[in-house]
Symmetry: C2
Subunit: 322 residues, 2 copies
């Protein structure tokens, strides 16, 4: 067993299906990593028990006796209070107010800091990713849901209550919008998340007779990955779905730019694998909807950090501050 | 002639029709005030000559020999560069890049700082108005256009280029939206500015046969003030127009809250005279569109500063920093 003297922290990225855990050194290297399921219990205490068990196991397997602290990025996480509130995309997160950081600290005996998963990803990108040197940007995470972390002058925007940056729940369709898990209708998330893309596929297959490779799947089982793979094989409907998704994102981004005038919008998550299929319509529709003064000037960047590293690294940045 | 030893500054609020000038003392009292037209020339140098002439006259009439500096709030003003760019609502402002602060300083020989008019109003409200003690809020000015000034943790949000806070040009109607002076379609400003309210009146009068006091006016001459007065006399169409205007604002405010999680949204400008006619639909539709965690928690406040004082006082705050 190695005995390491240097300081280390743990960064955790909690998503709708998995929680990814990494041991990070002072240089921001992810030394060791593992994942556990986050959707196999509806009891938050069971999940926190599993998570703390995994952290302990990971540290032991790496020969670590001490870690400085744990930083957690989690949907609907509140930095000010260490709580998770109304996290509708988490199986155990529906409750109004979960004292997540406190529960975890009690379980594992190490200081825990917590923030929204997208805020964590934004900090990760700013410190180690494509947003290095950019002091004003908006991070958009395209996962099960759509999250956002807003960086103003090099700092996360938390707002008066710690919940700023819920851009996935801005309304993009006012009439007959798709119902969202949050209880509203027409939220950006319902059109541009991985689930939104799958939903677009089902809608178009159900309402037309057009041929598509996607007809090889039972409609209910179609995922955004299936749509991506069909698009890569040249399927017209699949390509249109990415065009539509990019349009919805680009139109919204123009409004976000009018708010905070960022230098860049940074995208992160599985959907970004679609590359130009998504990038081109985003840039086109964003510029079509920007005021003259911003046309052609706002960068759209896709994260180049290894999947999940941005959020793990960003969460770890919180732990160093503990 | 009085000779005053204490330090004074001048605050100027440039609007689409008039520019209001005030002499301000260190306690934030507007000691003397005057206004000139801002829409009687298309030549920016002529306007700046008129403005500097008026400042000199006002200071002389008050017996002031020295003023510390001049702060100007102007639509599309850029704090970083002292410029006015693409100000489509100003007769002399269509040019891409006007070195407004520099030109004024050359003309009058006193240091000049400049910002967006809505940012100036936000600073005025924060320092002297309803937003005292509120560190996170969004100022919305309902005038000829719709402006906004965003305050994050007690500071104006400028963004990477100085142009943050163009919320009047976020898109509220994606299909067949009203054309905006900015070249886009469906901007919030086209529905909720004073001009937008008049336009709503003309549209409803032209497309229905319903009775209304507003039919006493030639359609082209109807102003938001006419609509307000008709509503106060119980005119149904006029009341519906305020309901519609408040709905458009409230829906947009919900999206703004999702961005920066402000404690309050502060409204300013002639339309706020409509009071509950505007306030009630704003609050109702904002709450209908907010995430659960914010419902009923975000304040909507109407400015109580004397008309134009907020922007003059806010602009003067810039001058003290010179």
């Amino acid at each position: 067993m190695k005995t390491l003297e240097k300081p280390y922290v743990v960064g955790i990225d909690v998503g709708g299906q998995t929680a990814k855990i990494g041991v990070i050194d002072t240089r921001g290297s992810v030394l060791s990593q593992m994942a556990i399921r986050s959707d196999d219990t509806t009891d938050v205490d069971v999940f926190i028990g599993n998570l703390c068990g995994a952290v302990t196991k990971l540290c032991k397997s790496y020969g670590l006796k001490h870690i400085r602290g744990i930083g957690v990025g989690v949907p609907n996480g509140n930095y000010y209070h260490g709580t998770v509130e109304n996290a509708v995309n988490l199986k155990w997160g529906g409750s109004k107010h979960i004292e997540f950081a406190k529960k975890m600290r009690h379980n594992i005996g190490i200081p825990v800091a917590l923030t929204n998963d997208a805020n964590a990803a934004a900090v990760g990108e700013m410190t180690y990713g494509v947003a290095r040197g950019i002091r004003h940007f908006i991070m958009i995470t395209l996962g099960t849901g759509v999250g956002s972390g807003i960086i103003i002058d090099g700092k996360v925007l938390y707002g008066h209550d710690g919940f700023a940056g819920e851009l996935g729940h801005t309304t993009v369709v006012r009439k007959n919008g798709r119902p969202c898990n949050c209880g509203k209708k027409g939220c950006l998330e319902t059109y541009t998340s991985a689930m939104g893309v799958a939903r677009s596929a089902r809608e178009i297959l159900e309402t037309t007779d057009r041929k598509s490779l996607l007809r090889n799947f039972p409609p209910a089982s179609i995922t955004s990955k299936d749509v991506f793979e069909a698009a890569m094989e040249g399927d017209e409907i699949a390509k249109e779905i990415f065009e539509f998704t990019g349009k919805m994102l680009g139109e919204s981004f123009a409004d976000f730019v009018a708010f905070s005038a960022p230098e860049a919008i940074v995208l992160f998550g599985g959907l970004t694998k679609a590359g130009d299929l998504l990038y081109n319509p985003i840039v086109k529709h964003m510029n079509n909807n920007l005021l003259e003064l911003w046309k052609g000037k706002i960068k759209v960047l896709f994260s180049t950090l290894k999947e999940s590293d941005a959020a793990i690294l960003g969460a770890s940045a919180l732990a160093w501050e503990l």
